[in-house]
Symmetry: D2
Subunit: 501 residues, 4 copies
């Protein structure tokens, strides 16, 4: 009888897919560093640049944001400081949609920060785009922020009690208030940022541009990455090293968890007062899925960590087969690792149509089953008659994975073995990753064998939670989405919905 229950849960899950997909319709990530599942979303990427020679720098931020576009596709913006004026432009859309030669040419200045943003359904509004630029008692600030505070609601309430008003629902506005408030009794913006960090809890990689400096901060847990680079006379801070490469900057170093740096005309100063206060809790999903494979975070190559995940999978879940394939794009590296470890040839089973982007009109009911095929086709000639090991980075709701297994079988695969380069995904994230709620997570309701049956796979193997450390060379990381062991207490309340429609 249990079986019936399961099936009805499964069916419900499939129905919920409609709703979820509808919500995602305008925000699918279709490309670089992305899988076709549209299910897990990073919340943001930040980029800042400071030119010591007074040259315009907004175009560096523009190119930097392109390389961070995989971290957020809903809105983006750039703020510049010219003389002492801070000016900005931001809007909903991709970097290539928001910025035109005309508006980019208006952004003069030798200091600049930029942001790409993904948001949950409710707050995908223009008002929430970043940078958040505010005037306060000492001048003007532009803030960009990646991460999620767990005590934002409490902080807002506290501020409101003292008369604060809020025009957005983003954490950056809370941070702006705290910095502004602390600035009154501080000698510098960086001192005010440091004081504000006493209050804010959770995940943040943060840039605060004031007219003559950039202050960058990474939370004490180091949830989100943030790194420093330099090219000629320009300092660059960015969410990922791939953005340094894009503008031709040399990597200097990652900010330490808890570190605050200040970039001024005198160079870079560091404040480590919050370093080593807590055990770091780097987001392991940056390595598994979010970050671009060409990035290196805290001295660990993202690509290498995925190769290693594949190798571990091959050790833990070996199987005889003819070809190892990745589900593009995010499954490819782990598939290569599996291949290297197992000796089974790496091959290509899928062709992904990357033209299917945000404005794609979804099929109506009659063509519904085509939905995945429009995005992903099987290389039938290369699959027919083969035993396939199909590697993907994660399973969220499971419906897409089931579709892909079916496509492989229809193409003539004789066996399909599914290997997942992360442990079963069971718990929500409160630190800046947008995931379906627990009800929609297949691993929440099902044993691994049940999942295997639902996918229609011949075998199914997940990465062992205890071996994730091998992926990241024993770095300390957060695995709460797999274990429920949150490094800080999750928030008890949400900020109420946005006001803009």
């Amino acid at each position: 009888m249990r079986r019936f229950t399961e099936e009805s849960v499964w069916r419900k899950s499939v129905d919920q897919e409609d709703i979820v997909e509808k919500q995602l319709q305008n925000k699918s990530r279709s490309e670089c560093g992305t899988d076709i599942k549209d299910e897990l979303h990073e919340e943001c990427g930040v980029f800042g640049a400071y030119n010591l020679k007074g040259e315009d720098i907004a175009n560096w931020v523009y190119y930097g944001l392109f390389s961070l576009q995989h971290r957020g596709q809903e809105s983006c913006g750039i703020a510049v400081s010219e003389n002492r004026d801070i000016r900005y432009y931001k809007d909903m859309g991709l970097v290539s949609e928001v910025f035109t030669p005309e508006n980019l040419d208006k952004l003069h200045g030798d200091i600049a920060v930029g942001h790409v943003r993904y948001s949950t359904a409710g707050s995908s509004v223009r008002a929430n785009a970043q940078p958040l630029v505010t005037k306060y008692i000492k001048g003007t600030l532009a803030i960009v922020h990646n991460g999620n505070l767990v005590n934002a609601v409490d902080l807002r309430e506290e501020l409101e009690k003292n008369g604060a008003i809020f025009q957005t629902t983003i954490d950056s506005e809370v941070i702006a208030y705290l910095v502004a408030k602390e600035r009154v009794t501080s000698r510098s913006v960086e001192e005010a940022v440091a004081k504000a960090m006493q209050y804010i809890k959770g995940a943040y990689s943060l840039l605060v541009m004031s007219p003559r400096k950039i202050t960058a901060a990474r939370d004490p847990f180091g949830f989100k990455p943030l790194c420093l680079g330099k090219r000629d006379d320009t300092y660059v801070v960015a969410s990922e090293t791939c953005a340094l490469d894009t503008v031709g900057a040399e990597f200097i170093r990652d900010l330490e968890p808890g570190e605050i740096i200040t970039i001024t005309e005198d160079g870079v100063k560091s404040n480590r007062q919050y370093c080593n206060m807590v055990k770091p809790a780097r987001c392991i999903f940056e390595y598994i899925y979010f970050a671009r494979p060409d990035s290196v975070i805290d001295d660990v190559s993202v690509f290498a960590s995925r190769i290693m995940a594949g190798r571990i999978l091959a050790q833990s879940h070996p199987v005889e087969a003819d070809m190892v394939v990745g589900v593009p794009e995010s499954g490819n590296a782990a598939a290569m690792g599996y291949s290297l470890e197992s000796g089974i040839p790496y091959g290509q089973a899928f062709v992904k149509n990357t033209y299917v982007g945000r404005t794609f009109i979804k099929p109506k009911q009659s063509m519904r089953e085509q939905s995945v095929k429009i995005k992903l086709n099987v290389l039938k000639e290369n699959v027919k008659g083969k035993r396939i090991i199909m590697v993907d980075d994660s399973i969220v709701r499971g419906t897409t994975s089931a579709n892909i297994v079916t496509m492989l079988r229809n193409a003539g695969a004789t066996e399909v073995h599914v290997r997942i380069s992360s442990p079963p995904f069971k718990f929500p994230c409160y630190f800046g990753t947008d995931i379906p709620n627990g009800d929609q997570l297949i691993a929440n309701h099902h044993t691994i064998d049940e999942i295997r049956q639902l996918l229609g796979a011949d075998s199914l193997g997940y990465l062992d939670c205890n071996r994730m450390n091998e992926m990241v060379k024993d770095l300390e990381y957060c695995d709460a989405c797999f274990t429920g062991n949150y490094p800080v207490d999750p928030p008890t309340r949400d900020i109420r919905g946005d006001m803009e429609v």
Copy 2:
């Protein structure tokens, strides 16, 4: 020798015209209640509606804003309250450009406020569009505002000292802070608004929508109009009565200078604590030029006041002629008044091309002299051989008027007598009217006879400052732009420029 100096001033003025026109390029008022001069600008119009039966009301605001579009063409917006949620949509552009069936359909709710905005060059940015919607300790507020505070900079500074941050340069944000702050110690929003009015100085006609009520306030001087109407189960507040007509509402009454009213499910309550504290100072330019002629402000018909201005002109500056004509559109009513008083037939001398709007590409140098002709052509057949009395509402820089006089002469007018239905315009306004600075005001540098010569007119007559009271049936009004007698001290500082590009 003096003559040379004058001419060089005049030439400079013409050159400045280039600059000013460039600034105005994207914001010309081309139509209803507008002249072709593009020189004087109202700052805003407000509209609110409250339906007692719980029916959606955003479309009423949409139509109401259409009828107030002459008060501001740069940006517009609507906020609604549905259940207890306040939501809004606003953007740069005309009402017909900003609102589509799609976004209007998203604005559900039985309480709504809207705004049309004109701004000075520096702050024509999206961030400054209204309604300003903010969350604060007690919930959410949407504020729309017509007018200009004279102590906004001081108030901002004071607030900033206590930690406030500002994301716009509009007065509404200052007001929002004050209301939010006072609300903590008040029993209601209307009480908080009343307390906030202790601090704000200057011109304001204001709507504050909280989830369950609209609080409307008119400053104690009554600079800007604000009126109340009703249709069936819906209360309406609007800048002008023409907006009541548009939605079919009956006029109930104007708000008194200093009055605060609150519209709730229980109807309308009034607070007159600020009434009769000071001598009213209604903006006389509402009657002369800004307001739509079909509006009635404080019991005086705008159209009738213009007719009266024409009659006074005919009494003070009679001249023999064959035809009285108005410079469209704003000169027409006074021209009719002149005709009625003098017995000289009213006629039409001009055809205005109202297709020439905001996106019109200005002629290059070679076609430069055509700039006025593209907007305004002379009815040669009707002008030839006639002595013309040409009535306009005001002369600002004088260059356009000179062009029009030349056009009439070229069309064969034997005499051109210019009559202006307001006194010479000499002083800047600090209460919500955007005018060129003093340097560009022709009456600032020239005697009336010099102006006549510069225009190339046979005679020139302005409305006598001492008889303006006859236009408005002895209402008390502000005539500072003619006399320099400001009812409140002008501000000593400006808010520094906007941040959005």
Copy 3:
């Protein structure tokens, strides 16, 4: 019983209004030379310019088209000849919407033609925008055309029998084929145009630009206006003289009915072989309504003809009253004429909101009765207690007129006398005017007294058909829409619908 029938017809008419208004939704003429009825539509305006000194001339056409915008608001375009290359840009929309500095700057060349277009509902598609630019055996042609051929379907069929293919449903494509065909056996384009005119029947004012000349032709009946002007080294041809004024050109003369002129580097040559073949049949509605009042067509001032129509009305349909008012804009001139003749003062009863343009969202049922009020408000203060003579240029379906009469009464008018400056409109036009079909013409089903009752007017007077000649100084004209006496046989078939959606 007859009464019931009438009422049901009336109700049907009102219902049809919905449909018609829906069709018109995207194409209302809201401004210059326009009434608020949105019921009668001119089909096109043409403008050409030839600079003898080789200077770029596209911007002249741009400004010229602005002044002809009242003749068509659906699409527009400009073609230029640079060296021997003809290039064009055209699209749906107003001149101000279609042309940007970017695309206008791409149109280099010293010869240029332009077009504004209105079309019937079925063919409002981009493919039908003009100029129509085609390559043929001798090079390239750009054709712009105002008017309607009555034998277009027959000509198309004949051409198709010889292998022609058609990509649009506009007459210009038929003309292009005929000119191309005749060009093979002709020495020049103008000779080919002349030969083609043997075949085409109906109304046309036509410009044919070939790489080195403009050939302009007006049909032998002279249905549509076409005039020639010059400024410095530039010849200009245009539908109306107001376009000459706009670019500062001197009027030289109208083309005679049947005349063909050719503008080349050697100046203007004329071919009068088709002149004086038939009795001219100028469209009388150009004078009554279509043309801009500042235009002069065939030596008759449009404004003066409207003044005269008003005078005739005052003679034929006198009535005691306090004020004569026009329904804006098109009724104003005739109202002035009525005033001058009767001695009853001319006044203003209405304020029109010209911001209500093409993209206006129509009220839903609950606000339906507001539809007219949003566009047109009554100056209550100026109407109250008065006996009003309300002058309009025509009545089509009658529903709008009835609404306006009601508005005047509600505003306190004690009597409303309607005077129409044209005869009852009873027959469709086949020569380039888009009018509702006969069923929707109120005068088709009703006596004048019945119409008066339906309007709710105290009296109703139309212009006497026999006195229209006085309006136009005994010019010969077409009055088929009033009399059914068509100067050429109407077509028996329509071209089938367009293909573009």
Copy 4:
């Protein structure tokens, strides 16, 4: 001294890159089946669908065009036949940009054809978008066309002599004329198409939709692919089989070179009168680069042919190395083939940023060297210290390849061996591929060793022209771009430039 000449040629080539890249700026192919070079362009893709049950089918074409988007990104369009009316929508842009739910919903009908288009710089204008829909003596036709006629200019001239006029510069308009002309003396459209094929020479895969059928034709050489499929009651014809997969259709068969099929309510009929007349000359570049790897053309898998090319390369140009990598995306399959044959592990060296699309703002001079890096980054961690075999499908101008080699060296590669899965590219194509002219082809001016030096590679190996047959299982193909042996004489003249700007 010769060396200097070479270098100057090289520098010239680099400078020309600026120009070429500028032209390409708006038309880069950034994704599926694309390399990052933006240098070779397919001209078009076609898709048609016929539903036997009368159901709407436009959405099938919409999804089909998505899967063919790699064949053309400049414009697209869909035409439908509903009852007997043919209607269409087309515009510049990607499928996802051109089609919205609104315009797609207007396209009803059970027969439909669609098109994606790439064009050379001069003719990238809206007028040239397809389908070309024309009316002719027997009704309406919609034509979509992939390929290039070599005698189009002659045919146009011939038609023009008989009075034809042309509004575009596309071959489809010539074809439409010929079909229309032949239709007069034919019993059916398919007969007319067959007769027209007597005249047209060159490459064409063609769909002609008449109101009740689709006629599909492939030229006798079979230059371009065209295949037939079916799903339930719907027949589908498409340029590639990947489009069949996308809509869930079963592959039936390729059209034979020279075959004409007609799809009606009675099913599919075939006319093979032009089959086997000439030796087939399939475009080998479809296999090397153009087609999607998941397509199968004339029974040869595109993916398999690329794998084979890699294997041949490994046999002909073996080298000791640590890793084989492909230049994404088009080099990947051949790289896998090289790996399989050589036993050297396949790896990943690059991450491509697919967000860098058509609207990307190119870096200015100061950031110029970043141009490639923004699109493509090296996986430094995976490259460092390794001897790399880098496989790409072709070298056109060579500058991009040189940049990529440099990137690999900078990342620490100790050796870089370049392998190209096609022979040196030396001759222009006249059959539908847009390539830089001969001057810009590096292989035109340089020996292979010179190219190696210019690229900075340690070794360089091209596919042997004599072994290409092994890639395609001995199919007959056209290799003119490598050998200059054109299967039909190239055209001697071009059609003169387009008229639209």
